[in-house]
Symmetry: C2
DNA sequence: CGGCCGTTCAAACGATCGTTTGAGCATACG
DNA sequence: CGTATGCTCAAACGATCGTTTGAACGGCCG
């Protein structure tokens, strides 16, 4: 039988883990399958056997994390959206908190950097994949922002969300100047990042 | 004689122009010397002859634009820094306006995207080059921000500047959702970008 | 036991990368 | 005129890339 859908486990998981690490460190083009499979302790051909191609592997790295992440984002949003006492902070929390919790897992934190890279690289294939599969999430959040900021024109709101996205991508990826101090745990640092980010975003979104 | 410092002009300029375009479109690794030299209409070996290596070419692309850009930034800052009536808007103007003027030139606008890529790619060599050669510019602006925002702790200020940097990089690079509408000139669009950016940054920097 | 099938493996494929080479060209100068 | 010099050119170098191949392995079932 031709290799079917198979969740063998160990080899696929090892590849996905190593891919997350190396993609975060060197980018999608920068990380070669030889480095990747060596890091995972598997044979070079295993990637094409289990995933079909390098591009499919990249998509799978995203799918594995984003499916769960965005489900939790939408659930958090649904529990507050439309309520009269909901604040901007609540909506931003709903977006950022699931990403923060993902970072409990060490490799989950890495994924945030992979995600930031996807935005930075101008690869249209990848951007289209993200837009098609997860665009509805951003649309739902945008709708709730629009409800909470009725004084803003649609254009003005889009501008501000766009700028917030830039700050968020920058901060969550760890690309900026701010580095975690050695006496602060990874978990505490990301919590701090989220706090700064939320207050910053609220100010940027709601200024007159 | 071994090839000396030589400003022959045409060939070097054509290479730099094509490099700016292709680096902006496909990244530094993504743009090959063969594509680049073909676009420039010069021989493949010309890059290594005139610049020594691809890495040196990348540095030269930055140096050509950043030298002039940051000189104008520092001049604009010097003319307002320390004055009692100077506002946050003034300082942000001093930083953003020269970049905006650079975009008068079409290829100048491209350079903004090249710059954003440099921040996104995690290449330590390039980041170090930028930090060593142009770090003093960011330091001067940070000092002026500190003067205008005395109520902020040093740490708080750094966080906010970092987030502003993210938004700025995102917006100036054209990576975001916001696309120029066909009935708006490139010049007007970048002016609009700057206006949104400055108001957004002021709100993000100065919120209580 | 014997055959099957999912998986792993070393090896090779062709393509493309940055860089180097050495001949060829044109201009300037003794 | 003849030689040196700055530059361009086609061709090749070795390295590395993603992908493919076909043999070998190993557990499971008839």
């Amino acid at each position: 039988m031709v290799p079917p859908v198979n969740s063998s486990g160990s080899t696929k998981e090892r590849i996905l883990g190593a891919a997350e690490l190396l993609f975060a460190q060197r980018g999608f083009d920068g990380a070669s399958l030889r480095q990747l499979t060596a890091a995972a302790g598997v044979n070079l051909a295993a990637v094409n056997y289990h995933f079909g191609s390098k591009d499919k592997l990249v998509e799978e790295v995203f799918r594995r994390r984003l499916d769960a992440l965005n489900e939790r984002r939408l659930a958090a949003l649904a529990s507050i959206a439309g309520a009269p006492q909901t604040t901007l902070e609540d909506v931003l929390e709903a977006f950022i908190r699931p990403a923060l919790d993902l970072s409990h897992d060490d490799s989950g934190a890495l994924f945030m950097r992979v995600l930031a890279r996807a935005f930075a690289e101008h690869d249209d294939t990848l951007r289209q994949f993200l837009s098609v599969n997860y665009g509805h999430v951003m649309r739902q959040f945008t709708a709730e922002f629009a409800r909470l900021l009725p004084q803003l024109s649609k254009e003005e709101l889009y501008w501000r969300i766009d700028l917030v996205t830039g700050a968020l991508t920058h901060a969550m990826s760890g690309f900026g100047m701010i580095q975690r101090k050695s006496d602060v745990s990874e978990r505490a640092h990301r919590e701090q990042t989220a706090q700064h980010l939320i207050r910053f975003a609220v100010a940027g979104l709601s200024h007159p």
